[in-house]
Subunit: 421 residues, 2 copies
């Protein structure tokens, strides 16, 4: 009994600390540079991808196609057959994004030369990176498609967008992201499936350095403005890096039962827990809570090809902030009533409320933050996540809200009970 | 009986047409230029001010001070005493803003040299103008204050902001406002007391022409960007001109009982009705529905010094769109529940729903548009208006929601019953 109480006290204190670190993150975009420069230890023959690690022969569908596409784009292989052979032989390594503090959007393919947004969490002293939004085409490498157009677009990001953004961000001495995220939540964004306001606010920060750069690089500056203008989702990659940096800072606290990561690959969903080391607790893929598919597609066309943007929900955004983003109905379906109800349910499985990031409709209540594994298992309420939906033929076919599976939370609770904490 | 039916049919048809013109407006910002250029017939010795006309000796408080300040700013008088004398003698004329298709913010002071935003309603073929937001200082001419700082700021608008905006708008060949307003309503604006998103979206439209202008006028371009950046309310003047242009287009339809203008001066609130000519139906000043005053101020400090931004409510914005703008709680108080309830009530006194401008929280229902005088009198529900609150000592002291008085609607209903329609 006394031991049980002591254990509970240790857990409570550890969780207070975890929530404090999670909600106390101060993410600042400090640079945009190729992954191999941002992560000097990065081995050029590596391809990163979303989710808990799998053996190469377990990757399938769009995620497998994305990894192969990344290898070809990077010049690690000449064609698909060559890539398949080298991947099977281990000449090309596949690693989870998290091994290099990256966070994957959908398939989450990273190779050495790709420009990444480098976000520093000033309060945690750690960094996280995310690569760039590929634009509005339905076909993108992160949706498991690689062809001539996709390759040309990736080179454009490498040659133009990355360098211009890098220079402007360095000129500014960094761009603090929290003030932008705070305002965006008051402007219809939940910062996962809607980033319209945040992208605009971020663009405004860049105007002056872009003007300074213009005489030297007029074409590239114009191309960058066009890219930012056409990409209402640009900021998603920044909110992802910010969320990963916050979650990483909250990870590794002895005795804490707070979730510090939710990811999926093409086969399973997985969570990690602050006090339970680097183990991923796996469960089945998420289930549809409500989605809106592009015309001509049905639920049978949906394919899971990975995703780590659910770090945003880990940090209280997206499905945990739907009541900030009623316009999402247009993009992913649902109704305001259902969004409010789903959002309120997330307070039942979290321990804290974000002191800075707030939801106007809920009377400026702070975002529900710090998912606690026992609360999930006891209530049977699992996290709701706003994600882009990929199709079996590759490409995006819609967007929707999905529920995390309860199995991984049950496994985590069991492991927690057995752990020496 | 048959005559009564015929009359009702004529009214219904006329009102359908009025709502069509009101909600079918296509406002485009076509230029920014001094009032005397925008309105060639404008007599230089005239000062415009908000509300139904009053005799000079009836103007009082901040509105009177504003008129005098405008006269001094324009060089029509040397000092207050000189201005008082010339105004009393009729050497300086005071006219309502509407005489020159202008729309007044608070006291609504216009003089010949002031730059105005020229908005053309492409569907109606008419124009409306609004002068520029004076910036974030609590003391501004439109809040009844004229001093050295206010004068310097007005000259800055005249020398820098007006010319730079004018050139960029002409370079663009005009800026369509409806697409911006549509998006802004999905981003937390109700386009009266909250214009944050619209101002950002408008700023984005100007980036490229500002870049083109930069080599020639680097300082002025930077000052304009700073001005736009510091002014979350910049767009209010554009939504006001857009609303006035829509309301003017809907005015003058024989037999229509739709409200085409709501304004107030320092003494009374007034409405005009599409089918009842240019007569203003006057009633007492609005009553407070809910407001948030800056620290240190109470309701006893509130002074009415005029306002025509309520053309926005006439067109379905502001108090008619509160459910689009929950963040307004911070600025003007209230609760989400009360905002939704107030917004829904406005559908009971209007005849139409805007086909383009919609409210996400209400399942993308169109804005309630086309206030009908009989509906107001029968339900006892009067329009709710989001307005800035002026103080007795001059300057802004807060913001809030106010209710229009029922008396002017009753007078209009009586006049309508007697009219030969």
């Amino acid at each position: 009994m006394a031991a049980g109480l002591e254990r509970a006290t240790r857990r409570d204190s550890a969780n207070v600390e975890a929530v404090k670190r999670l909600t106390g993150a101060e993410p600042v975009l400090v640079d945009v540079q190729p992954l191999q420069q941002a992560m000097p230890g990065f081995d050029r023959s590596t391809v990163l991808t979303s989710g808990a690690p799998l053996a190469w022969d377990e990757y399938r569908g769009g995620q497998r196609a994305g990894i192969i596409g990344g290898a070809i784009f990077e010049g690690l292989a000449q064609d698909e057959a060559d890539a398949e052979a080298k991947l099977a032989a281990g000449e090309i390594r596949v690693r989870p994004c998290g091994d290099y503090s990256c966070v994957g959007s959908l398939a989450g393919i990273y190779t050495a030369s790709m420009p990444v947004l480098v976000v520093e969490n000033h309060s945690g002293g750690n960094r996280a990176c995310c690569n760039l939004f590929e634009g509005v085409s339905r076909h993108r490498l992160n949706y498991g498609v690689y062809n001539e157009d996709v390759g040309r677009n990736l080179r454009f990001l490498h040659d133009v967008i990355g360098p211009v953004l890098g220079e402007t961000v360095r000129t500014l001495g960094g761009v603090p992201l929290l003030p932008i995220m705070k305002r965006a939540l008051h402007m219809g964004d939940e910062l996962h499936s809607r980033n319209t306001a945040a992208t605009l606010l971020f663009t405004r920060e860049l105007i002056e350095p872009l003007m300074q750069l213009q005489p030297r690089m007029p074409t590239q500056v114009k191309q960058t403005l066009d890219y930012l203008r056409s990409s209402d989702y640009f900021f998603l990659r920044l909110s992802m890096a910010a969320s990963r940096s916050a979650a990483d800072a909250a990870h590794g606290i002895q005795s804490s039962s707070v979730v510090t990561g939710m990811v999926f690959n093409c086969r399973d969903f997985a969570i990690r827990v602050s006090g339970l080391g680097d183990r991923w607790f796996r469960g089945p893929l998420p289930t549809m809570f409500g989605a809106k598919l592009f015309e001509g597609f049905t639920e049978a066309d949906v394919e899971f090809m990975g995703g780590e943007s659910t770090f945003n929900e880990t940090a209280g955004l997206g499905g945990f902030a739907q009541a900030a983003a009623f316009p999402l109905q247009e993009y992913q379906g649902g109704s305001p009533e259902k969004m409010v109800e789903a959002n309120l349910a997330m307070y039942r499985i979290t321990l804290g409320e974000h002191p800075e990031l707030k939801i106007p409709y809920l009377g400026f209540r702070g975002l529900p933050s710090g998912i606690e594994i026992h609360r999930v298992v006891e209530t049977g309420i699992t996290p709701i996540m706003d994600i882009g939906v990929a199709g079996k033929a590759g490409g995006q076919i819609g967007a929707g809200s999905f529920r995390a599976p309860i199995e991984c939370f049950r496994s985590a609770v069991a492991a927690y009970a057995e752990a020496d904490i």
